[in-house]
Symmetry: D2
Subunit: 419 residues, 4 copies
């Protein structure tokens, strides 16, 4: 497990997952003559970090850094995305994209601390994650160099399939979990799990029931709905409290309330998604996702905005949310345009305060009411029964004035004989 | 039931619903000295049109016109909205807004045919529907005059509550259904039913289970999911076929397949919504809606676009869909900007052909697969296992080029000491 | 000149210009039984305020308030608009719209101080200014009531033309300037002068040379260009210094430098505009404008942004500038959406620092160079002669990756036989 | 001048300009063992095509194709851009970008006809033009391969400066024009000429007077303005007639009228531009441009739209014009998103018919009037002197209704204590 002869080529900080791919990459980098610092981010994925650490050390990592970044993940990227209702292509909640900048930032911190010349990761050359990692790296440390084995011909030509990796692992003495490979790939963190590739590459294939991991199958979910009465409270567009009268719990810590909502969403089968999306590199791709807490939070947040946000403010923010989602998806978290849009989103969220009642039931998340101390809703003026300060005759002038332009256009249209 | 003394003031075409409000308006218009032509549009609402007709004649309508506009409703406005994924404020499916232009157009046709000087409707002075009707009237017949009793002080001061209307009905011999008034208002058509006002004016009040009318309560829906296998087929973005292998039916007529999807959606509790929205006149309002087929169709249509629509085309169309939804909501169907945006939407829908598999279950509508003969999805290039003509090294240049701008910005940021 | 019999109806704060219209309105309001406080804003228009004050007192104003708001005009609205490059319909620099909120805010201050129940102005019922004033009034004092004589039938029916006003002035002893009325209307402030109505109502009529007031006719402008070398310096998107090596002057005070640029622009015939625009009330209108300093400032500011602003930041800001211009034009300065957009604009302007060289010559304003200490321009990487850290091969991957999507689309297009 | 030993490597269609760079590339490709077909597009640049042809043949081109594409250039891309008012970053008229797809399409036609395996061009690896050419190539012939010498290390390392090219030309017997090289690069076509690099790489350097080529220095332009009375007539947004009463000429052919406007613009010094722009590859670049006819046409076209285009239609189109300009700039003419946006632009241009009066004078282009048979301008309703069917009281309701939302917001703002 020693490095190649002579002086090392340099020091690499590798984003290590503990799986077959990055274990082989770790061994291969050492074989190529690099010193390797392994780095694992705890972003809430299901993983035995100590086992993985021992494995990396056994393969030859000079050191292994395990970093719990869950708190910054939820506070900095997840809740920012929720406050913007950011959904890529109007549907995808960005579970992987939101984790990448958090992982990359810590990796660069370690690379700097450990004096690394290089960073490396195990992402493929066709996907989004390579971009998300590397744009982040370059933003945070413009002089860093990236080693991306899956884009290096001598690597990808050598390892053309899973069997080649298994053979190499055997050769290098890398322990391999004996579970049979699943016919799809996954990426998991606290916010979501993604499934792609393998049998999912036919977009008409319905995912098998046993693929889904985080959430219960809606058909198997409890027959009794879960009602989170006065449940989710927001302050300036960020969740600050979850109350469930049913189980008598209250959660106020940002991470803790998130994990609680995750548990509720999982139990009731909330947050599954199956789509064909457009990768940044221009390739269409089919992905399945489970995002339990995120699905609930965005539904609740969007609902509350109906009560407390000015119509025009909402409309303008809504023109930028898709752009924000797109740039997060594409990997531009550490970019001036992300800061710019977030400055507007943050301004829009001042006063997005209040509580939303939620019902979870067999896969769906339903809003059952909302309230706020700073509501823009005025019961009297809204009422159909009382005037509430509204003069109905004002509407006459409102409508007639709006009709001026339409009448002018119709008159010219008639003249042109287009009607 | 005769008109006032002397020559009539003119002839009015009244949009008549058969209910208490428009029955009183009918009587009141006659009392004011107008000749009234009553007009009822069959837009798929639950109604005994013959009973309503007899009632209008009894009150004194000179004639009553009942028009079935369901086919043009589904073909012209509903499917146009589906093809644009048009949702107001990202959530409301526009059920009332899409019906208004269809109703108004027919009303103007009748007004012209019957030589009317005026049109009239029973909408209040605070709502959206007055705008939708009148902008449509003015667009289609710029010289028409509108009589809107709920904006005329002598009318709205006389009729300050339901009891005043009941008293007037008794006085005028207008038959009143003896059912107790519900503590909310509704507006129903083939696409949806809306609920507002009354107890719903407190936005934190959960709607009672017996309010919902079109859809089964999800908790009471069948325990067995409904799978519409290869179910909804689109051609140029419009639904052309629904197949349900479960019940062995196939539907291809535009109206018939819509009604079938409605039946399926109702059975499985799909399409309920409870929101606070922003009316065009600047008032916030709480509304509840049931839109079964619409909910299914937009989910299926949006999913199919992932497979067959170019990313940039989708992105550009998505910047205009909210504007389209807004202008439909505000009443500008017969307006140049609606025609303009639809020209782009129609262009974008060329080639939105294919089929989507749907599962309906206890309130939710889930996509289980999609296929198309003109898919832009390329399994080989998408695959993580084979190259499929893709050179992974190209990604290197792609990323490095995208990083140039980010590095330049970070360098200046560092110079400014902002980091 | 006395008020009507009995107790006054209330106290009105009237925006008074000193001209025939508002003088008659002042007299008429008194005749109607109101106490009138006259208010004149000094926004840099050409006016003898003392003469106007004496006139108002003579007519019967209870008091006259003259307020110099030029500094807040330039600092709060003019430079905000410049920092956003705000131009309505891509062409109009908003000279009137930017003055209105400043005037209205001071008027409400006075109205509050003087215990007024009403505010009043002399704007017509067809224009934009009534909206701009009144939306500002209602925002700043929701309970205020507006008296708008030109929308009151007893007023506008009585005064149907200029002669009726002259007769009334004679009757009331209102002094009238003996100059012959010009065949157009004007509105002047420090930022611009507008011309409309009269002979300009034919949009094909070329404005006569003697109409233009602020700027020299380009044909009569100096034959020698004015070069403001290193002339206009911006800090965070706002002008902070103007240097003219030609006349040896330097100006750094925000108001003073503005007035200096105005003088330069006027001398060289810069800033004339002749357009047909769309009023908020839906009417098309022909207007001519002179905006000397504004034209120079926006040209310089936009140029500097090319050097110091990130491409994507600029692109996003540019999607909101038209909306900002529109809402300012429509009168929504004191509105949440204006604050929202300005929050993004202000963020975008951090680091818009640097200097721009300007040449003024016979009506045109030409950029001759620009520099900044925080430039994002990198001479080496831009150079066609040296590599500057750029690897030309990266472009290969960049292009080939961008082509993936295009190739997929062309393949399907060919399949569809659309080509 | 012979090819390498053995069979040729394949056949290349080279975009040949006749200059030093592409002459060396031609020789080098032959040296590398390729057969080369030289192709020159006549896009209106100043060039002796016969001399260039002889030169290419002398160097060893198998054949030389000279193609006059001026008509399709003006009809297909220039007038499309004018009809959209397409300007990149709100300022640049896209002169090079609009020529590239026209050149590339003809090149692919020739490549197919001549059985070429490759296409080649002389663009650098840092610029926009490589992208514009290659995206067009790949769109029109997905299987084509590109040889781009300035991105091939053995080429760009061998030719590191102009002297290396001159030495190679001498070695290969390539005739070189004896004029001294200018300290900047140019690209010229009928629409514009661009200047960049060399001394222009300092963005603060004012371009020397003798750099500008197409247009007269404004200071040297005629002292008498040129008035094109009723001059430019558009039909559906495209210019169809130019009349100059001054010289008695009328032009109606699309190419001819364009060349005439070019001559007028050149004479009066119209259309110069000096900017720092953002290249697609993420590099900032300083460029100077002369676009005489384009500057006049867009000014006239935009003005006419004020008269004949509905406000909302204009506003929506204006949200897409910047995106259209961007994608043209980036090289995506042959892309689905360009077709999509043009479908909307074309719809918006129906009825953009009418004439605009223009004055050209010492560098500026001024609008002096406009008229149309399908104007949406209504003199009566616009008039400040007559009612024209407008009821001023309608404005009251219009304003009061718009104020509802603002008052609600101010009330909550006060509650939050933010005011």
């Amino acid at each position: 497990m020693s490095a190649a002869n002579g002086a090392p080529k340099g020091r690499v900080c590798l984003a290590y997952s503990g799986g077959l791919d990055t274990s082989c990459i770790l061994a291969w980098l050492i074989e190529q003559g690099y010193e390797v610092i392994a780095y694992m981010a705890n972003i809430g994925q299901e993983e035995d970090f100590e086992v993985a650490k021992a494995k990396a050390l056994k393969i030859g990592a000079k050191s292994v850094h395990i970093e719990d970044v869950r708190k910054e993940f939820v506070d900095e990227t997840i809740y920012a995305a929720v406050s913007a209702n950011a959904t890529y292509e109007n549907i995808y909640l960005l579970g992987t994209s939101l984790a990448r900048p958090i992982i990359a930032r810590k990796q660069i911190e370690i690379a700097k601390r450990e004096g690394c010349d290089y960073v490396s990761h195990g992402c493929t050359g066709k996907g989004n994650d390579q971009v998300r990692f590397e744009i982040s790296y370059y933003a945070l440390m413009p002089t860093i160099k990236c080693i991306v084995p899956w884009r290096i011909p001598e690597f990808f030509n050598r390892f053309q399939g899973r069997q080649d990796l298994l053979d190499y692992a055997a050769e290098k003495g890398i322990p391999v979990t004996q579970t049979k490979a699943k016919p799809w790939s996954t990426d998991e963190n606290m916010y979501h799990i993604s499934f792609e590739a393998g049998i999912l590459e036919d977009p008409d294939t319905t995912p098998p029931a046993d693929m889904w991991k985080l959430t219960v199958n809606p058909e198997d979910a409890p027959n009794t709905p879960e009602r989170l009465v006065s449940s989710i409270t927001f302050k300036d567009g960020r969740p600050v409290k979850v109350v469930n009268a049913g189980d008598g719990t209250t959660h106020t810590d940002s991470l803790e309330l998130f994990l609680y909502l995750n548990a509720m969403g999982r139990k009731h089968g909330v947050g599954r998604l199956d789509i064909v999306e457009n990768r940044f590199v221009g390739i269409k791709s089919r992905g399945c996702y489970e995002t339990p807490a995120g699905t609930i939070l965005i539904a609740a947040h969007r609902d509350l905005e109906g009560l407390v946000m000015d119509r025009e403010v909402r409309k303008i923010r809504d023109t930028l949310s898709p752009r924000l989602a797109e740039l997060i998806y594409n990997g531009f978290w550490f970019a001036p345009e992300r800061e710019l849009i977030m400055s507007l989103v943050d301004h829009s969220q001042k006063g997005v305060d209040g509580s939303v009642k939620i019902k979870l039931y067999k896969g769906s998340c339903t809003i059952e009411g909302r309230s706020s101390a700073v509501s823009l809703y005025d019961r009297d003026i809204s009422s159909m029964d009382i005037a509430g300060g509204f003069n109905p005759q004002d509407s006459e002038g409102f409508i007639r004035t709006h009709a001026i332009r339409i009448k002018a256009w119709e008159a010219v249209k008639a003249k042109k004989g287009n009607q």
